[in-house]
Symmetry: C2
Subunit: 199 residues, 2 copies
């Protein structure tokens, strides 16, 4: 893993956690290294083994590797702000959720379960020295048309994937700072309560 | 990690993935070992550092350790089917999502982001030899009242957490088989497409 630009990104944790979780962050620039097909498969293999409500596995994925038409179509679905930096990623993944259960009723837990799968994907990526940047900013309606996404499915995010170690100076000036500022999270007390809702 | 009852649960993967992902499964019985407060903090620390849309961190958690009133209140929120086995877990966690963004609009990605946090929690737990079993089957309306969960938040799951190595024979007969049957997932081709929606 290339730590050249990431030391200041390591989570300042009060309690000991796995390095694959503490050292993960979401860059907007990636190194020039390509991602091979075997690695793509390993990432989706990790996602695939997540838990899900009734084992429905409501996650679907469309991916493209840089230099392919598939990649360009995913890239073009992004809002301009994201498109300007995401094109340095060697891999783009569109995540999609199946909205109904087998009985036709809405699956309230579908998005949660997609998140579990992407949690696996994220930790596995970090273990391979790869970074992710999840994006909500894309034209999901356009993507539904462009990729013929069937009714009952909904595109959720586009994720840029690549090796750490991109050069922040290749980014527009207003985005450079984000590559080096420390990560911030709410204190544990604000998100966790013992027997009571955290306030 | 106690592998005594888990060997047949190891994911049959085509591609190499982290053991913390391949060996995870969702038991309905746990060993007698307690979980200490330090471990509880490590799990939530891992969850806390997940990515989220605009860094909103829409995850909230209420937990209880066995033997406390907090635990009993979470246990009592479960539907009878889950209550019958979950009480062997030393730790119960209720996961909750903040439904709106700071601007008051619905946060479509909130459930996905809670899933990302629970993905971290899950891998960290496995790294510590702990198993999770997520449950959708609980009285969330009753939980909102019992725990005074504010408007704009929604209880999503209750998660049983404990060490692997429980004795399946302590379970009702109809639940014993699930502790040893191999895990099943859809083939990768059914969930992943290169440039096209997987069919």
């Amino acid at each position: 893993m290339d730590h050249a630009t990431t030391d200041q990104k390591i989570a300042q944790t009060e309690y000991d956690i796995m390095p694959q979780i503490a050292e993960r962050w979401s860059p907007r620039t990636f190194s020039d290294r390509v991602i091979d097909q075997e690695t793509v498969h390993r990432l989706f293999e990790a996602a695939r083994w997540a838990a899900s409500s009734r084992n429905y596995q409501p996650w679907r994925f469309i991916y493209g590797l840089k230099g392919t038409e598939a990649y360009d179509r995913i890239l073009n679905s992004l809002v301009p702000f994201n498109r300007q930096w995401a094109e340095s990623a060697p891999l783009l993944v569109m995540t999609i959720v199946k909205e109904q259960m087998d009985n036709g009723k809405d699956n309230y837990h579908a998005l949660h379960d997609l998140g579990l799968a992407m949690g696996n994907f994220s930790v596995q990526a970090q273990d391979l020295g790869l970074a992710l940047h999840h994006m909500a900013g894309f034209d999901w309606k356009g993507a539904h048309e462009a990729f013929d996404i069937p009714e009952g499915y909904h595109a959720v995010t586009v994720v840029a994937v690549g090796h750490y170690g991109g050069d922040p100076e290749t980014l527009p000036e207003d985005l450079q700072k984000g590559e080096t500022t420390p990560r911030q999270r709410k204190p544990i007390d604000e998100i966790v309560g013992e027997g009571t809702f955290p306030q």
